[in-house]
């Protein structure tokens, strides 16, 4: 009994820590992007201020229950994703509920949030939200193919679907990481992560010049605040998940930060240096090289 209580307390603590980490990560990334632009950029703690200011805005309009539930689902998706991943391998504080949920559950949570958001945004009634939802879901289906296939490759390779065991199988030096033991799967998964992170050229959902700004166009005050919180949690959760899957997890906090940051930098650097795909271009992109890589990874592990 205490065991489960302690786990809950631990999970809440690690959730709190990971939220702050996500916020600071966003702040740092804004700084880095600003430097590429030749600017100083906002202070690192700007995301905190933005969230407080957003929550502090009053709201006078509503578009119905589903509209209110959309961001809730999104945030639930983000938190759920995180809660079933061991953030730090072997640490009781950061292992969350990873023993009780396997990779499939996490994958479900990754996409649960977007589906919930789609429902909520559709309720908003703004044409741009509808268009944005359509774009987002179609792109999501596109990058789900390589991602799922590379996950299947991992499962076949390590004979398990539990993330903890996948991480455990990668311990003992960089040579055991999936990045090296199964490079195809890693490549496919990380390219899928680019799409998941929604930086350029895959930021077709919130394309400010095209459909400002997609699904959250009607969201304001608390709802937008929830979305911002989710952006912090979900980004960190996704990075932790991919770190666990491909970069051999992390034995301690600094290792986790280093690896997730490096992983995120891929998206950011590509994001600042590329324009945006059109929807069908992005779908075609995901269904070409990454899909081939993913299939190769499955073949590779089966031949292994």
């Amino acid at each position: 009994m205490e065991n489960i209580l302690m786990t809950v307390v631990y999970a809440l603590v690690s959730l709190f820590i990971i939220t702050n980490y996500g916020l600071l990560l966003n702040g740092v990334v804004r700084k880095i992007v600003a430097r590429v632009h030749g600017r100083f950029g906002p202070p690192v703690w700007q995301p905190y201020l933005d969230i407080i200011a957003t929550y502090s805005k009053r709201t006078a309009v509503s578009h119905g229950v589903m509209f209110l539930l959309g961001p809730v689902f999104r945030l639930a998706g983000g938190i759920g994703t995180y809660l079933f991943i061991p953030a730090v391998f072997g640490s009781a504080l950061f292992s969350n509920f990873s023993f009780s949920g396997d990779l499939l559950l996490v994958m479900y949570f990754v996409f649960f949030g977007q589906l919930g958001m789609a429902l909520g945004a559709g309720e908003g009634g703004h044409p741009y939200s509808a268009i944005g939802v359509g774009r987002g879901l179609s792109q999501m289906t596109a990058f789900e193919f390589p991602f799922s296939l590379s996950v299947i490759a991992l499962a076949v390779q390590h004979h398990t679907l539990s993330i903890t065991e996948i991480v455990a199988a990668q311990q003992g030096g960089i040579a055991n990481w999936t990045l090296l033991t199964n490079p195809f799967a890693a490549a496919a998964g990380i390219i899928a992560l680019l799409g998941m992170n929604m930086h350029s050229p895959f930021d077709i959902v919130i394309a400010p010049q095209e459909i400002p700004i997609g699904p959250p166009v009607e969201m304001h005050s608390g709802l937008l605040g929830m979305l911002q919180t989710n952006r912090a949690v979900f980004t960190a959760a996704k990075l932790v998940l991919f770190m666990n899957l491909y970069l051999g997890g992390a034995a301690n906090i600094p290792a986790m930060i280093a690896k997730t940051f490096a992983l995120y930098m891929v998206s950011v650097v590509i994001g600042v240096s590329f324009p945006r795909f059109r929807t069908e271009q992005s779908i075609r992109f995901f269904l070409k090289v990454p899909l081939v890589l993913a299939i190769l990874s499955v073949i590779y592990v089966t031949l292994l």
């Binding site: 030749g38 268009i131 010049q209 459909i211 400002p212 324009p275 795909f277 929807t279």
Partner: protein
């Protein structure tokens, strides 16, 4: 399919009748005026099926200030603060045209050096406008980085303007009979320095934008202006040159000192967004070269201002004229009519966007993906204030 308008159906008039907008197959979306992807303050009334535009009506007039009416009740000299505000990104063309029209009608001589200074100003403003434009073009496709760089460099050019004319955006530099001020001391060194930096930036931009696969994917085949559209739609400037017509007011009817500068007209083939972007990029290099030429060939000293007669009761004999110059968007024209009184009888401004942003855009936008509308508008380089004045 998406994003590609082919020449054959763009030339036929829009088939409003064949489309039944009550059938529920089409969604009506107002893009703008409050929309980051619309250039300036105008709006598009779009009928889309899926994400593809089937019909568009442009709505302008959000920036209408009634310049032409206001000019009729201000004296000739009082109009100079007004004219430069007609086109915000590139005011010098307006100043030059109004001044030269007045000089022509009143028969005022302009000293040699003033003409050189005017040419310098015009070319600088062209370069500044182009820099702003390429940032917008890249930003419309989602590459905000280039915009950040170019706007900063445009600002250095604005600093030069401020040093030369005292105004950052609006200069009011050219008056009938010359220009207001001579070059400050050491201006040429600073100018050449800024130009060199801009040139360096352009080479970086070429790497980032024109060697970029995604940009190429987006811009190729977007908004093709076929050869036979150019005359019937009044397409001018880079949009026409990209279609293969060697038309440039600086060559066709030379003004200021352009007849003494050597440059040749850059043309492209098959005017789509990529070709236009490429062409404007080359024209930026060209105007940098022109500015260098001007600085070389400009006479060192000399008078730069012939004082006009007493501008208080300055009556210009009746007459009419049409003067034009090549702005960054194409032929910019002023039609000025005087009736011998102290006020102009009629001043009509012909902005190049007048044809580009209304008739041409309504044709090109058909069957374009809604994602490409911003890119299409920017690639036509539309500027609303000069449409409605």
């Amino acid at each position: 399919m998406n994003g590609i308008t082919s020449a054959h159906h763009t030339h036929t008039p829009q088939a409003e009748s064949s489309l039944d907008f009550d059938s529920g197959k089409y969604v009506k979306i107002w893009q703008g005026p409050q929309h980051p992807g619309v250039t300036g303050n105008m709006s598009l009334e779009l009928y889309i099926s899926g994400s593809e535009v089937v019909q568009c009506k442009t709505h302008v007039g959000y920036l209408h200030r009634g310049f032409e009416k206001l000019m009729e009740r201000r004296r000739f000299i009082q109009n100079f603060p007004l004219v430069c505000r007609i086109c915000v990104p590139e005011p010098d063309t307006n100043e030059f045209l109004y001044a030269s029209a007045i000089e022509e009608l009143a028969g005022i001589e302009v000293p040699e050096r003033a003409l050189w200074l005017r040419t310098l100003n015009l070319e600088l403003s062209r370069l500044a406008s182009f820099l702003m434009w390429i940032g917008g073009q890249a930003g419309a496709f989602g590459l905000g980085t280039v915009g950040q760089w170019t706007m900063a460099h445009r600002d250095f050019i604005l600093d030069l303007f401020e040093e030369l004319t005292g105004g950052r955006v609006y200069h009011m530099y050219m008056l009938p009979g010359g220009v207001r001020a001579d070059l400050p001391h050491g201006f040429d060194k600073r100018l050449l320095h800024v130009i060199a930096d801009a040139e360096k930036l352009l080479y970086e931009i070429e790497k980032v934008v024109f060697h970029n696969a995604v940009f190429k994917k987006r811009a190729r085949g977007l908004g093709v202006i076929s050869q036979d559209m150019v005359d019937t739609y009044g397409v001018v400037g880079p949009n026409a040159r990209a279609a293969g017509f060697a038309r440039d007011v600086r060559k066709d009817s030379p003004y200021a000192k352009y007849s003494e500068l050597d440059f040749d007209i850059i043309t492209g083939t098959g005017s789509d967004a990529w070709e236009r972007a490429r062409l404007r990029y080359l024209e930026m290099h060209q105007s940098i070269a022109l500015i260098r030429q001007i600085m070389e060939r400009m006479p060192g000293t000399g008078p730069f201002y012939n004082r006009p007669p007493n501008v208080l009761h300055w009556e210009i004999p009746p007459g009419q004229t049409y003067v034009k110059a090549e702005s960054s968007r194409g032929e910019y024209g002023y039609y000025v009519v005087t009736d011998g009184s102290m006020f102009p009888r009629r001043v009509c401004v012909r902005g190049p966007s007048y044809a580009h942003a209304v008739t041409l855009l309504e044709e090109l936008i058909v069957s374009v993906d809604i994602a490409d509308i911003a890119g299409l508008m920017v690639s036509l380089h539309t500027c609303p204030p000069e449409i409605e004045r």
